[in-house]
Amino acid sequence: MFDKNYPEPRFDKVLSAKASRRQFIKGVIASGAAVSGAGVLFGTLTGCSPRGAATGGVERMLMLNVNGTTRTVDVLPNETLAMTLRYKLNLTGTKLGCDRGECGACTVLIDDVATYSCSTLTHSVRSKAITTIEGLESADGTLHPVQQAMIDELGPQCGFCTPGQIMSAVALLKANPQPTRDEARHALSGNLCRCGAYDHYLNSVMRAAGQPVSQNLPA
């Protein structure tokens, strides 16, 4: 059911049958290893199981256009796009920070428009083109200009918010290839950075747009 070019999504496989899920959990406990990993997994899996899912309404099998490839995936009605990307399609470059539309770490492009994937039901974007951070580099591995500029300008500090910042910047440059620094600041204003690397991010966006980097800095 999944495209062969992509690794089989582990969590989904675990979920596919009650027996295998039980065995997996038992295995983790018995081995005594990866205790924290198990905690993460349980957190991830809560409510993600098809058991207890409501019936009626939309079909669960979806064709999703992600990064230019159509992928078939089993999506619950109450599943956010961030969940589908991370836990069904293994596209973990999209981060979950707040899961409430208040931080921007989960930003992806829907038909080239920056969108919080935590606040979007996957079923709502069935017929749309989804682009994640994984879809930016070209086939030969060349980074997107915004990604390269982030490296050149030492944009990120810890890096957790970076995929979201990059997606917002890519959306801006698609609509406005020559933004002013103020326009870039507005475009990235829906992405929080707890390291406070905002000016570095803006430098990166201006470099990616081929604009002078340090002009217009506040005095």
Partner: protein, 330 residues
């Protein structure tokens, strides 16, 4: 951070408004109409609202876009995003106050999916209510914000009636100023409600902030030609420039003839449960010269009768200053 999912529900994605109304009517108490989803999904994730049937309106393309109406004025589909409204040439040309208000909502990503219908229909932002406590608005018999230790910094100056929550919308005051008409459809038919009557306070119904009832779908907003091309003013003050709801916002439309204010409408948000139309100000300044003295008079007039709570006294000079600036700087 919570990485689990929201509770299960049945999801329907109708492609006609009639289909949506049928689904919502059938679902009754367990039904939920979702537009952009920004607020809806937060409610579900927090388990405060637990609908069994969610009707996703986002596929109703007939409810998107800005159209010119016969006889002047415009009609805005309720699902039109705030980003579209911020950039729409017609709105920017004739009703800049609405474009300016839309631009100050939340964050770019939220404006990209958030709809104008959702923005004006959003529920109270009181954090006690949002936390799921058994307050008056949630059907209980206490206001936690108004208790001696309650945090009421964001709450109202007027219209307290058990609940002291305020209208949280940035675009709602602009709608009142423009005398917009809300087009509401349900199984019985279609009706048009003026913006001033669309928003309701706790004295009318403490469990909702608009006249929308179960089975109702807000389909469009019609803005008459009356205020097209007026001199406009919009300003919002919030703790942060992104995401935050207004502490106070102000919207004004006026026609100035020969230096005098010939006609004016003004409304403030986040000071009452509904956008507060400042009629006393309108009356005081109509016919007066648009100058600093009139602006000062307007500011003083605007705060008469304000009743402060424990921590929101700052809203009085804030509103006064915003009203003064609206006359002075428009």
């Amino acid at each position: 951070m919570s990485k689990d999912m929201m509770p299960a529900f049945e999801l329907y994605q109708p492609d006609t408004v009639d289909g949506a109304i049928e689904l919502l009517t059938e679902a009754g108490e367990g039904g939920w109409a979702m537009a952009g989803g920004n607020d809806s999904l937060d409610w579900f994730k927090d388990r405060i609202k637990r609908p069994s049937v969610v009707v996703d309106l986002s596929g109703l393309d007939e409810l998107r876009g800005v159209r010119e109406m016969a006889g002047g004025g415009i009609e805005i589909g309720a699902l039109t995003t705030l980003t579209t409204i911020e950039r729409d040439p017609l709105i920017r040309e004739r009703y800049t106050v609405l474009a300016d208000a839309a631009r100050r909502v939340a964050s770019p990503q939220i404006r990209n999916t958030g709809t104008i219908g959702g923005n004006i229909s959003q529920d109270a932002r009181c954090w006690y209510y949002r936390y799921g406590v058994d307050c008056y608005r949630a059907g209980g018999n206490t206001c936690f914000a108004k208790s001696p230790e309650g945090q009421d910094r964001e709450h109202c100056l007027w219209g307290a009636d058990r609940c002291i929550a305020v209208s949280p919308s940035d675009t709602a005051p602009a709608m009142v100023v423009l005398d917009a008409r809300m087009v509401i459809r349900n199984a019985a038919g279609e009706r048009e409600v003026p913006a001033e009557q669309f928003f309701i306070g706790p004295d009318v119904d403490i469990t909702r902030m608009t006249v929308l009832e179960r089975g109702d779908v807000l389909t469009a907003i019609r803005i008459p030609a009356d205020w097209a091309g007026a001199t406009f003013y919009f300003e919002k003050v919030a703790d942060r420039n992104t995401w935050d709801f207004p502490l106070v916002n102000i919207a004004a439309a006026m026609f100035v003839e020969g230096g005098n204010i010939a006609r004016i409408r003004m409304a403030a948000g986040a000071v009452q449960c509904v956008p507060r139309r400042l009629q006393a100000v309108e009356q005081a300044v109509t016919g007066q010269p648009k100058n600093a003295a009139t602006a000062a008079l307007a500011g003083q007039t605007s705060v008469r009768g304000a009743t402060t709570l424990n921590y929101n006294e700052f809203k009085v000079p804030l509103l006064q200053n915003l009203v003064t600036r609206a006359i002075r700087d428009a």
